[in-house]
């Protein structure tokens, strides 16, 4: 179960959306226009089980998400889902890693305080004894030109999704 975002946690003016999250259900998210720059040299690392439930986060993940580690462990990874991300991107991610392949893409993540940050994400299935036991996700600082391309691309994809 993922709780709705709390207005008390959000800094500044915000917009409200209700996301329909796979395996979770509806979640109210509160979004501001504040971008938090990705810190130079850092890697954000997390692991989930096969259902997308967070089992491990590193210090950089905790700092950039704005949540406490205790709030993240046991939560679905979609706790970071930003409404500007098209659903098709995550469908592609899950289909790719469930096939046992590696997925890579640019992702806009939502923080607890309503701000956002862009990452270049790579997700790899963790295989132990021939079985997929979870997924590792590594995010690094993205090339800004790629981010600008994705802003336009994702907006078009969301329009198409809204129209169908």
């Amino acid at each position: 179960m993922l709780q709705d975002m709390d207005p008390a946690d959000v800094k500044g003016e915000y917009r409200e959306y209700t996301l329909e999250l796979y395996g979770v259900g509806p979640r109210k998210v509160l979004v501001t226009d504040e971008e938090v720059p990705y810190p130079d040299g850092r890697l954000i690392v997390s692991r989930t089980d096969t259902d997308g439930i967070i089992t491990h986060v590193n210090r950089s993940f905790v700092v950039m998400s704005g949540y406490e580690e205790e709030e993240l462990i046991g939560a679905p990874h979609s706790i970071l889902r930003h409404p500007d991300m098209p659903k098709a991107a995550f469908r592609d991610l899950w289909a790719t890693v469930q096939r046992g392949d590696i997925w890579q893409g640019y992702v806009k993540n939502l923080r607890k305080d309503g701000a956002y940050y862009w990452v270049k994400a790579t997700v790899i299935p963790n295989i132990r004894g021939g079985q997929v036991v979870g997924y590792t996700s590594v995010r690094r600082k993205p090339d800004r030109r790629k981010v600008e391309e994705c802003i336009d691309l994702y907006a078009r994809m969301r329009q198409e999704e809204a129209a169908t």
């Binding site: 810190p39 850092r42 590696i102 790579t122 590792t136 600082k141 993205p142």
Partner: protein, 251 residues
Amino acid sequence: MSYTFTVSPDFSPDYIAGWFVFNTWLQRTLETGFHLELMDDFDSLHNAIRQDRIDLVYANPYDAAMLVREKGFTALVKPRGGADEALIAVAAESETRAVEDLPEGARIAATDDPDVQLMGMILLEPAGLGKDNTVRVECDNYVLVAKRLLTGESDAGIFLTKAFDELSRPVRERLKVLVRSDIQVIHHYLMAGPRIADLHPKLQKALVNMGEAPKTVRILEQLKLPGWDPVDPEEVEFMIDLMETLKFSPA
């Protein structure tokens, strides 16, 4: 019965004598013959591992995947305190102030150390730079990486952070660090193979205890190691997953 011990070729030549002393300690402690075979380069090391000639190795993070998942090695210990990190530096008088200032076609000096190269190229990604749009200037060691920057033969250099910090002060003062990695979980490991599986517990205990007796502390000091910490197998699996993730580059 004699076994073979080797050390990842990214160690500094200053420590060669130290590794021979370590090997003598190893043989006395385990009452087992170990031959220390030092490789000239990573190709030689990888060939020896593929041919199952290695029983104990102070391994580079890049090689951990093959050792654990293909050759059945077990990580026994890691150096106490401090992970492997990389940095990007330029000449101090360079107009480059951030990696994003580096242009396509930039000449990047680096050693053949694969995990440092990997971390370094990740640090260059925010500039849209990768192996396809940069020119690699390969150097035999980090002193030569620095030299290429100071002579203007390279635009930027990739350093193991520890190696950069060990450069002489006059050299370091003529260089400018653009970015340092902060990955925290990439380590060298001392890894033992399946032929010496019965020695693993005794060896791990002896290594962890090296910091407790003056005689063994002196051996560690020759290698500039503060001590060894035991390793949880899942920690190594996690690092291998991370390295595999970082190696991925879509076609």
